[in-house]
Amino acid sequence: MKHSTRRTFEKYGVLSAPLVWTFIFLFVPYILLFTYSFYIKQFPTFTPAFQFGNYAQIIADSQYYQVIFRSAWIAGCVALSALFLAYPFAYFLVFKVRSARVRMILYMAVIVPLWVSYLLRAYTWKTILGNEGILNSFLVWAGIFAEPSDLFLYNKFSMILTLTYIFIPFTVMPIYTALEKIPRNLTEASHDLGVGPLQTFWNVILPLSMPGVIAGMTFTFCLASGDFVAPMLVGGPDGFMIANLMTSQFGAAMNWPLGSALAMIMLVVVLTIISLSDKFQRAGRVELG
């Protein structure tokens, strides 16, 4: 066989399984979602149509777009809080811990909580923050409060707290990787030039770690906005997010076209965020030789 023919044969042989899979299980479902989003809800299910009514309903009806904004706001707060907690930890591991063994142990220590069921960890926050929970018990015992407070659970605070808790490990990982890659000769050169540690951080380390920061925050924002477990456990009425809205459209509300329209909106938004984030990451990448 000619080499180029064999090469082509090889190429499409290797490609066939993933291509077919991607087509059947990713492409087709998204097309279906797109199609359904134009249908009309009609008892008991829905009829084919081509109309923008579902999208119009989402934009016009405040009960829908409020949920979308709330989800984005909560996800943004979560991404920021996770960043403020994860970055110092990653920085400490990479630059301050001398022993490679201790560094690995501490790194694993952040990853290990991911192995405990997400549901259980979120639920445990509910027991910690609740009226009979540990936090309230401690505050009453310490005399800070006269009686247990309602303030800690079933609101945006508990949502952001729980979601930040879940996403800290996911934020630490890319930042740690990015910080590790920074060549030490750059920080040493900065020090040799007489620049203090704070300035070195601001001018050298922070910019070079940006790709990791952006990756972590994008991941956290996208996944936090689409979460439906935390809202159900600790959210209360204030914490109703897009994913819960979507779930109810496919469940009790039996409004699949509307649910599909919501899903399409989320799909497009996430795709846009990922593309933008990619561009920022590449722009921030410095040629390190």
């Binding site: 090889e10 190429k11 290797v14 490609l15 399984a17 993933p18 899979w21 991607t22 299980f25 492409f27 479902p29 279906l32 979602l33 359904y36 907690l85 994860a86 110092p88 920085y91 400490f92 301050k96 694993m108 220590a109 952040v110 290990v112 909580p113 991911l114 192995w115 405990v116 069921s117 997400y118 549901l119 259980l120 960890r121 639920y123 445990t124 027991t127 910690i128 009979e132 929970g133 540990i134 808790y165 490990p169 540690p197 704070l198 996208c222 996944l223 689409g226 979460d227 439906f228 477990v229 994913a243 979507m246 779930t247 496919f250 699949w256 599909s260 899903a263 989320m266 996430v270 990922i274």
Partner: protein, 273 residues
């Protein structure tokens, strides 16, 4: 003298900075482990209610687990789904990584976008879109549809890890193998695969772990059989007993043992090479 003052100031701010970093890092770890400590402690608490005060040490919740047939079925289902899904992700993800690393073909960028999408896309979308498709095709939801859903969501894990490893692979090994007369499939089996073995095993483990605790995709694609997360979910809605805490603690301990084992194995493997 100015130089002396500057260096004293510097060393104070240096110490302060280090102190801040140490405190911040330890606080983060404490924050991360607080719920886990609570989980473990209450699994031994002799009380149905998950709140203080602590009423006494007991193994009874662990004993109840042994009698809980539903839970055991759910765990078994999770293993079944996890193993099959991981197998599928390897079958699809490894060729996908090779295709992205070595070949150019029309639609490559779109293919890459699609493959990577489920990683950052909330699982609800993957779950809803696949549920739509199965319903439209008249396929009953079952553990098998869950397997297909997990495989789709997790292919990107394997593909990215293997791809990253392939990028770092030294092509001269493969060229040398070809120069020495090996056929392409021999080179693949004896040269390429062993070198990316760590990426394959690592991503398979991550894939299995993610599948075991997977919630959104499973929620939409599950039929009558429950996986472990679905069982826990239904228990949470109905009324919780500390049996759940016992489950969580056991999962944690098993995972710790597995991690320590795998780290030891990797180090041992490295030393042998």
């Amino acid at each position: 003298m100015e130089i002396g003052r500057a260096s004293v100031l510097e060393s104070i701010s240096h110490r302060f900075g280090n102190g801040f970093l140490l405190t911040a890092s330890m606080s983060v770890l404490a924050f991360l482990y607080l719920p886990i400590a609570v989980l473990i402690i209450f699994s031994f608490n002799d009380s149905r209610i998950l709140s203080l005060p602590f009423r006494g040490f007991t193994w009874k919740w662990y004993e109840a687990l042994l009698n809980n047939a539903d839970l055991q079925t759910a765990i078994w289902n999770s293993f079944y789904v996890g193993i099959c899904a991981t197998f599928l992700t390897l079958l699809i993800g490894i060729p996908a990584a090779f295709a992205l690393d070595r070949f150019n073909f029309p639609g490559k960028t779109m293919f890459r976008r699609f493959v990577l999408l489920p990683l950052a896309l909330p699982g609800v979308i993957t779950g809803i879109s696949m549920m739509n498709m199965f319903r439209a095709m008249g396929i009953q939801l079952s553990l098998e549809t869950v397997i297909l859903g997990h495989a789709t969501a997790l292919v990107s894990v394997v593909a990215t890890q293997v791809f990253a490893r392939l990028q770092r692979l030294n092509r001269s090994f493969e060229e040398a193998s070809a120069d020495l007369g090996a056929r392409p499939w021999q080179t693949f089996c004896y040269v390429t695969i062993p070198n990316i073995r760590s990426a394959i095993i690592g991503s398979a483990l991550i894939s299995f772990t993610l599948s075991f605790d997977e919630i959104p995709v499973t929620f939409f694609l599950t039929g009558r059989d429950n996986t472990l997360p679905m069982y826990i979910w239904s228990t949470l809605r109905r009324g919780i007993t500390p049996e759940i805490n016992a489950v969580g603690t056991i999962i944690l301990v098993v995972s710790l043992v597995l991690i320590v084992l795998s780290v030891w194995l990797i180090q041992h493997d490295d030393q042998k090479r």
